[in-house]
Amino acid sequence: MRRKIDRTWIYDYAEDVLKFSSLSLRAQLLSITAIVLFVLAVIGGAFFTLLQNYQQEQKESDVTAQIEFAVLQRRALSDEYILTQSKDAKSQWFTQQQIAENLLNENIPFFDAPTEKSVVAMMQKDFQTSRVLFENLISLSESTLQKTPSFEQKKSQLINEMRLPVEEEISGAMQLNTLTHQEARQSFDLIVLVFLSSMGFFSIVLLASFWVISKQASEVEIKKVEAETILSNLPIGIFLAHVPSGKPILINPVGIQLLGQSFNPNVSIDTYSETYHITREDGSLYPSEELPLSQTIKTGKSFMKQDIFIKRPDGKKIALRVSSAPIADKSGHLKEAMVVYEDVTKEREIDRMKTDFISLASHQLRTPLSAMKWFLEILMGKDSGKLTKEQKKLIINLNESNERMIDLVNALLNVSRIESGRLIVEPVSVNLKDIINGVLKEIQKMTQDKKQELDVVVPADLPKMHVDPKLIRQVYLNLLTNASKYTQKGGKIEITVVKTDGEITSQVRDNGYGIPEADRAKIFQKFYRGVNILEIEPTGNGLGLYLVKAIIDASKGKIWFESTEGKGTTFTFTLPMSMEPKKGEVSLD
């Protein structure tokens, strides 16, 4: 079933997802833009060159038109001169001749096509010829030979001679004009072609970009739906906050549901506890700065806390397990913090019920065990009448079994207390030597019965430790009881204590039965007993080392051992000079 989603928050998150997942999209768009810019530059350059070329061609076309005009003009002027011998026509002829010649000469570099070159050469030659002929015609016309037959003959001969170069000039000018006009036209066509093809190119680029973007967008959309679905269906609360403000970025539906009220988007790092009535178990406000979120923002590390409660507006108090984790970018800068929280009210209740059950059961067991212990004691006493040897032996066995049962019940009680996590840790300033001596006294009867030698080396200047004596006593008691129990009669047990860097290292060494290699990995497990001692020493409940390890772990110490089967075992453990106090509810017996 899809849960109801607070769209706003998911949406905001999806925007962020978009930001992240669009990195590749951005890269693609960037490369497309680069290509487009490059092509634009090339097209622009080409366009510019083509335009310049076109302008040149246009200019040439103008020039050739002017030449053509001048040449035609000159023919008309020469005709006019021949008819009227007007001075005006004569001077204009030369002007036009000069214009045409100048234009031609000035623009020689531009007439670069072979046809153009040959036409220009021909025209230059014709200009010279026609000028000479026109000058001859002038000198003839202005000479005294006028109106003589030879004059007319000579004049018409000159006019005839002039016709050829002039016609050639005109056809050359016209040819040039046509050629340059054609070039200008071609240049213009090229510009149009380039323009149209660049338009085509841009259309393709545009379509490709659109395709890439829409593809990416649909992928992002899927990612968004994925994230939405995951977040909204997770049975735990998930919450993302900005660093360092602690302001919310995202919260999933279960997260809101657990808060028991609508989500406040303006909450920040200092106001979480007040806003959502986050408390300790005793109902006192949980200091905002001690919340996992605040600690992650402060230190950039992950945190987990199990002592957080929320008093919801409906009056329900729920227990939460809250963990927080940093979200950093590639360079390790803290960007966001994630908080995951779940309702552990039931879990706590069940756990408490289990502990209470064991505690109650053990307590109830203790009463009849106490009665048995006392009746057996009375039975064995002098006032209950004389017992036969056989009866006495049976009663001693009964008593031993009863004592074992009492030990087991005690150990079970202790295990349940440690496992409940409600164990009181109450460090006080203690002299370790006193604790060890107390334990030695407790096991004295046992070691004396087995005639075992005890060797204790504790430095006289051992500083006082700040530890819970009840817990530490249990560690030495269990290790020494084991050492005595699992060492043959007449064996040796050594206890060595040394102060090392900031901690105390203790060693309990025996030359007893040792731990078989196959059992070594399991000896700290609950109820586990080494196979080699099951027959030698059938009493024992497999809880001693489990308790020892649990206590040392809780004290932030370390324990390890070395053992050779048949030669003995050495347990070494470290304890910090100072234990952290813990407000619990139960203590060890």
Binding site: H363, R366, T367, P368, L369, S370, A371, K373, W374, F375, E377, I378, G381, D383, I406, V409, N410, I424, K470, V586, S587, D589
Partner: protein, 121 residues
């Protein structure tokens, strides 16, 4: 003969007390719940009380409180005998006026008698 009042709801344990303490020469009265205990303190005027903590009708702490509040009776030494053995219970009982605390399953009758004799001496 010194009078000892034993408040113990478990009848087997109660009879063990009775058996042992009577043999040791004490005048023993056994009561099985808190209300009965209160009444017996007045009527029996014991020299010492052995008080269980978990009892029907009224628990051992309530009896202690009552006893402590009564100046005529507050001098009677009380040994709390329980199977709880928890630090807080021990501290609470001692704070409320008990002179000693024993965990029944951890103590032999012999040691209990020694304790009683010491307290009465």
């Amino acid at each position: 003969m010194k009078k000892i009042l034993v408040a113990e709801d478990d009848k087997f344990l109660a009879s063990a007390y009775k058996l042992k303490l009577a043999k040791e020469g004490f005048d023993v009265k056994i009561v099985g719940d808190g209300l009965e205990t209160s009444r017996a303190i007045q009527a029996f005027q014991p020299d010492l009380i052995i008080l269980d903590l978990i009892m029907p009708r009224k628990d051992g702490f309530a009896v202690l409180q009552e006893l402590h509040a009564n100046p005529q009776l507050s001098h009677i030494p009380v040994i709390v005998a329980s199977n709880l053995g928890q630090k807080e219970d021990i501290e609470k009982a001692l704070q409320m006026g008990a002179i000693d605390f024993i965990v029944k399953s951890d103590l032999s009758m012999e040691d209990l008698v020694k304790k009683i004799r010491a307290k009465l001496a």
